[in-house]
Symmetry: C2
């Protein structure tokens, strides 16, 4: 028997009182369906909510949480639904709390170089808002045109600029969080350093909406880098391309903004999807290396250093994109790889492993062996500069559903064991969600999971907030 109660007519009526009738969806499968899944490939990861509410304030969310906590109804916060591990999926039914109406930029504080936004602001809109002021928010998830900042914080999104600028966590200075008991708590602030109590802000970052509902975010901004150059370095083989990555990191003396790896298959799928025809898509693999900065000469010097190094390391061609149009054309191909794979292949599994950066060539080699062993495809792409690689495991059209379902777990077990042997982990930026939770033990100890569970129990004793994610209690 479930520990949870259903969303009764009476509870639905209460919800309508809190947020207004038109912002509650229930008893309407068609309208509920979009809230039943995120972008994780595979229908098996979805689950229908019983109700969706679209509050406009932290106060409303606090009331919803209080109600849900009293009635033992699970609640699941949801941003744009662009997640890749099922974080926003209401695994035990109950109420989905959509943050889409909380989309206001509350304050740009130029004197402190900080911005305060509601959780439902689209990541890319932050930079649109601040560019004219010469400021820059360094988060750059590949879904930036749709994803919400609240989701970025909840998942600790990485993205294309993390090699130089770090992941979302580095920029989150303050949060407003609604607890499962319905309290509104302010954490951190407009402060560049703060040791007043435990670092609850960073505990919330990456907690996948299981410890609190993020309603407001204070982000640190930096001076906008005036110049950016992208290098597209083509290699004959994936081995050569990936081997160049740690070399760029350690021997160029430069920390590039991005080092993205794309194997041939990934580029081809994306080009096909975008109806883009780039002449160099037949290279064995390519690296997309970005350098940026505020001094034109230095950026030029840096890209020449990196370009020359790549040629030494086997690149047969280095294209220089030093204008926004060409840059965007290349980055669009990179950003659309996951979407392209989703469209062109029914059965697939998107992975997000992370290893020590110097081990990136080893793991790519292991993936090739694994693909051959199981007769599947494991094309890879991603943020190679920080040791984070995305791979899409997919099978031929001749495979039965049963074969796929019985084989995939074996492949994943082996893949994660290889990652573990290299000192890696099963997710660098997409999160555990419910997609990866059963594999946690391949990379962390029972005692570690025990600590996670203890923290969850401490902050959500009734276990009503996004239950079933990361681990089973």
């Amino acid at each position: 028997m479930s520990r949870y109660s259903p969303v009764t007519e009476e509870i639905a009526a209460e919800l309508k009182k809190i947020v207004g009738e038109k912002y509650v969806i229930c008893n309407d499968a068609e309208k509920l369906e979009p809230y039943s899944h995120d972008e994780t490939p595979g229908k098996e990861w979805g689950r229908m909510p019983e109700a969706v509410v679209r509050p406009s304030s932290a106060d409303e969310i606090a009331k919803i949480a209080k109600l849900a906590n009293e009635r033992m109804v699970p609640i699941t916060p949801r941003g744009a639904g662009s997640g890749l591990s099922g974080g926003a999926v209401p695994l035990h039914g109950g109420i989905v709390i959509s943050l889409d109406r909380m989309n206001k930029v509350l304050e740009l504080d130029k004197d402190n170089m900080m911005i305060t936004v509601e959780a439902g602001v689209i990541a890319n809109d932050i930079n649109e808002h601040i560019r004219e002021h010469g400021l820059f928010y360094a988060g750059y998830p590949m879904s930036m045109e749709t994803c919400y900042i609240g989701g970025n914080v909840a998942e600790n999104a990485g993205g294309g600029k993390a090699v130089k600028y770090g992941v979302t966590a580095r920029y989150v200075l303050g949060l407003e969080v609604v607890t499962p008991a319905g309290e509104i708590v302010q954490m951190g602030g407009k402060l560049l350093k703060d040791v007043t109590g435990y670092n609850m802000v960073q505990l919330m970052v990456g907690s996948e909406g299981t410890l609190g509902i993020i309603t407001k975010v204070i982000l640190k901004l930096i001076p906008l880098p005036k110049y950016q150059v992208d290098l597209l370095c083509l290699f004959k083989s994936s081995e050569e391309a990936i081997a160049a990555v740690p070399r760029i990191m350690t021997s160029s003396g430069i920390t590039p903004t991005s080092i993205e790896y794309m194997d041939r298959e990934s580029v081809q799928e994306s080009c096909k999807y975008l109806n883009e025809n780039i002449s160099y898509q037949d290279a064995g693999a390519m690296l997309l290396v970005t350098v940026d900065g505020s001094e034109k000469e230095l950026v030029e010097k840096d890209y020449e250093t990196v370009g020359t190094l790549c040629e030494k390391l086997g690149a047969f061609e280095v294209y220089v994109a030093d204008n926004p149009t060409t840059s965007e054309r290349i980055w669009k191909i990179r950003r659309n790889i996951p979407e392209a794979f989703s469209v062109f292949s029914k059965r697939q599994c998107g992975e997000d492993i992370v290893v020590p950066p110097a081990s990136i060539p080893l793991i790519v080699a292991e993936f090739k062996k694994l693909a051959a062993k199981y007769s599947v495809r494991i094309p890879s792409y991603g943020h190679a500069g920080d040791g984070n690689l995305h791979s899409r495991i997919s099978c031929g059209t001749d495979w039965s559903d049963e074969k796929w379902k019985s084989t995939l777990p074996k492949i994943l077990e082996e893949l994660y064991s290889l990652v573990n042997k290299l000192g890696g982990k099963i997710s660098g930026e997409h999160g555990i969600g419910h997609k990866r939770k059963k594999y946690m033990r391949t990379v962390v100890s029972e005692e570690y999971i025990g600590m996670l569970k203890a923290v969850k129990r401490a902050l959500d004793p009734n276990y009503i907030l996004n239950p079933g994610k990361i681990f089973d209690l």
Copy 2:
């Protein structure tokens, strides 16, 4: 009645079995005394331990913790004892666990640009160890010549280079931690990003030794900046000097490595203490601004930009220190201010407030008013570039102990309220310890403290690990 048990002869014998007889101190007040306090000014913050143990491994610490947890004896981990909030003081007696024997650099991993060290390694030794490899650890606490990296992590030390490089937290990628129950847990790893479960690493960072005993640390390193220039900018008044700080941050287009503020009194005390006679010590206040980088021309351009801006903002003199000897001479004065105050003044209270960086001039002005109101001195210095200011409240020699003890809490209440009004917090890098715990409520909510307590209870249910710090349970 205390909830804790004393260190009996039998427990002492067990401890000797675990670490060896010569590494246990008990029944010897003279030898125990150095472990009864840290560098917090004021004898009232000290408390004698019943026993001190000096283990050589995480295994030994795990055994000690297990024993203490079973017998309900409090344990307090201790680094170099250079803390400034009483973090290493055994407030409820019991056992102090000194990390001084765990002082090995375990591995320098040049390919990943990471270093693995035991918790008892002196912060400065890390850079001594890696400089020849062209690598750099960006932590730079003022006590770097003595403090241990384990303590830096436990307190989330800031320091002189945080404006550009961030605080300790940014460089901690992995930890080995002994739990109060005596389990050894690995967290994080040689990974630049990792969302495999909650961010327990960052929960441990800054937890002041209350959630786990840090035994091993994996740190991220960066390429060693080849060039560094320090500017010593002299202003006629403290108002002018401090007003320049946010202007440098927002309008120079540069992120300096350091922006340190020192008022006249701070500089004079330190010079007196060091027997140093710098001709410019009579300026009203000064800023020490550092820029660094790997390109000589760029560093030169940057320091000229900053220097010219400071002159525009009222600096009547800008000294350029572009060689290590002169640099070290200036920084030594900065680093020795706290020690100088301790030597020359009996009754004093060292503060560590942090405010949004743009509010730094406001808080300095408020401190002046407060000093006048209570007829005390509140000289200020510190990491103004990140909004973090150290102030030493002290009174005249004519004050009685009673007057000091009854007046100080009033001053602190007022001071912290001012900080709170500006959106600040009561500690930027020194920690709460037991020195500041009763003032937590001036800056954070009851609900927030409730969350901290819940986390503490979850990870240390018997409350044996460094009890009485940050809050009372």
